[in-house]
């Protein structure tokens, strides 16, 4: 627990503002005022508790976003019913910001590209990867649908101020080594419980050099460390990214120089190879160069998910795919993170490039990532994936084996039909 008057970390600063206090310390219970609340299909389970609570209206309709993404368009009757419940609710309580089929995208990407979360915000969403928006210099955390009902009714929620794990990164990422490799490397050290209940604060010269899409990727997977939130302090890149799209005034805050960190991990990425998380945990991380030697056949490759399906990721894959074909023994699925990214791919000829190479280029959705819609694998199959989880059963059957890697490595696997080093295609 940090001292009563000691310096504050980035998350502590944000939560002090959210709770209207001059100072908060880790371990303290606060009531935080919410700046942005986001729901995807799980929000359908918010509707009944909202009514049971006796709530009649939402605290601030300009701060609520609904973005359906898991089953778009609805692939089952059950999914259609969830969408229907949300549409009816949005009409009933007058929620104007609904990203519906045709204007859809993965909920976290929608928040990012429409400027819904700005520096200094406290944001909550009904999805665990809400952490991704910490890249804006905000505390962004996942909550469940009953909790969301209380947020919609009251505009606030209780939070325990988390202690902070600082990950300080220096060095230059080599050619073919990207932000995804960095976050996998960090996961290998922090492990899946190393940041449970904590805030992860990314700092250091390497982090300052990362682009906003790259920061979104590393904050996204702090969820796999167990973290409540994962943040990067806002800077000129953040302000420039949000300059024309921010929905609310920015109120950036920064960690104090004498902030108390529970733990600091130092990572030097100089000379670091691409990394892979092997079955069945995102922290089972090994250098790709070792895994390649095992000649692991890949039945399916997936370039998608909130972690890595932005335009930069799809371009990174295209640079490798150009001039090659998808291996005949491998299925390759590409699912952009939003409809606007899909349109960008269309304009740049990327859909044509992927499709002609033998990939299936789908509309935007969570797609194969969560094993509940499309891209399910068979029990004895292997998937090379740019997504964030490889737990037993994540893509369907519990035996299915998922290897997590960068978008470039995913494309390399699709071409070779086995786990491969993308640097060989440079």
């Amino acid at each position: 627990m940090s001292g009563a008057n000691g310096g504050m970390t980035l998350a502590e600063k944000i939560l002090a503002r959210a709770s209207g206090l001059d100072h908060v310390a880790s371990g303290q219970i606060i009531e935080g005022r919410v700046d942005l609340a986001m729901m995807h299909e799980q929000g359908a389970q918010t509707v009944a508790p909202f009514h049971q609570m006796g709530a009649e209206k939402v605290w601030d309709r300009e701060r609520v976003v609904i973005a359906i993404d898991h089953w778009v368009p609805a692939s089952t009757e059950g999914a259609a019913v969830l969408h229907r419940i949300l549409r009816k609710f949005a009409t009933e309580v007058n929620l104007p910001h609904f990203y519906d089929v045709g204007n859809h995208g993965i909920c976290h990407q929608i928040l990012a590209e429409h400027g819904w979360v700005v520096p200094g915000d406290l944001a909550v969403g009904t999805d665990s990867h809400t952490n991704m928006l910490g890249a804006m210099g905000a505390v962004a955390a996942g909550i469940g649908p009953t909790e969301m009902a209380a947020v919609l009714a009251l505009g606030r929620l209780w939070l325990k101020v988390p202690s902070t794990l600082r990950i300080r990164v220096k060095g230059r990422l080599g050619p073919g080594v990207v932000a995804k490799d960095l976050v996998l490397r960090a996961l290998g050290e922090v492990k899946t419980t190393g940041a449970t209940y904590k805030s992860v604060e990314w700092t250091g010269p390497t982090i300052e050099r990362l682009s906003m899409p790259e920061r979104l990727t590393i904050c996204n997977m702090t969820t796999e460390m167990g973290a409540k939130c994962g943040l990067v302090a806002p800077d000129e890149k953040t302000f420039e990214y949000l300059r024309t799209i921010a929905k609310h005034p920015m109120h950036p805050v920064y960690a104090d120089a004498d902030a108390t960190y529970e733990r600091t991990i130092d990572i030097d990425v100089d000379g670091m190879p691409p990394m892979v998380a092997c079955p069945y945990s995102p922290d089972n991380v090994r250098p790709l160069t070792d895994v390649v030697n095992e000649h692991i056949h890949v039945d399916q490759a997936f370039l998608g998910s909130c972690t890595n399906a932005r335009i930069e990721d799809i371009r990174e894959g295209a640079a490798i795919l150009r001039g090659h074909k998808v291996h005949p023994g491998t299925r390759f699925i590409v699912s952009p993170a939003s409809t606007s990214i899909y349109e960008q791919c269309l304009q740049e000829g990327l859909i044509e490039l992927y499709t002609e190479a033998g990939a299936v280029f789908t509309n935007s959705s969570c797609s194969a990532c969560f094993g509940g819609n499309m891209g399910i694998i068979a029990p004895d199959e292997v998937c090379a994936s740019s997504s964030n989880r490889n737990f037993p059963g994540r893509m369907g059957p519990k035996e299915g084996r998922i290897y997590l890697m960068s978008p470039a490595a995913t494309v390399a696997a699709a071409i070779r039909g086995e786990i491969a080093d993308p640097r060989e295609f440079a």
């Binding site: 219970i29 299909e41 799980q42 359908a44 389970q45 508790p49 049971q52 609570m53 006796g54 709530a55 898991h70 089953w71 089952t76 059950g78 999914a79 019913v81 969830l82 009904t126 999805d127 665990s128 809400t130 996942g142 909550i143 469940g144 649908p145 009953t146 909790e147 009902a149 209380a150 009714a153 009251l154 209780w158 899946t192 419980t193 449970t196 209940y197 167990g226 409540k228 945990s281 969560f370 094993g371 509940g372 819609n373 989880r389 737990f391 037993p392 059963g393 994540r394 369907g396 519990k398």
Partner: protein, 179 residues
Amino acid sequence: MDTMKDLIEGRVWTLGRDMDTDQIISGKYLTIIDPQELKKHVLEIGLPEFAAGARPGDILIADENFGSGSSREHAPAALKAVGIGAIVADSFARIFYRNSINLGIPTIEARGVRALFEMGDTARIEMRAGRITNLGTNRSITFPPIPHHLLDLLEAGGLVEKVKVELAQRKAAAGTPRA
């Protein structure tokens, strides 16, 4: 909804570490929102015999990092539909912990609890005293007191009941003419 009991006793099911939400309710069942339907699939991957064998009042005892992964409330909702008496673990993932408490399930973090129990043992939990005992071996451990605001939530019967009272009070206050 029942309010929290101070003394909870029940038959024990044990689970290993890192029991993530995919193993509690897998992705293919996420379009189901009726808890009575969901409970047929609870722990289908993590402990396949549980759904058919569990009885109301049974207690889950897990190792570290129970409920990691997604924010899906389907997982604690399915366990609640089974009538689970309590969920005790060496540690919990944060969203599961909040969801479970919000639904009014006694959810207790007790370091070392998994090592104390075998499948089928009987556990006794003293909520306020902060003690869990294996009634077969008589071995027990203590756990840190459940924070006040969480006990309030459990005593209210969960978050829905708690907010209902708050909103009703607010309404009554708004309707009271000023003196």
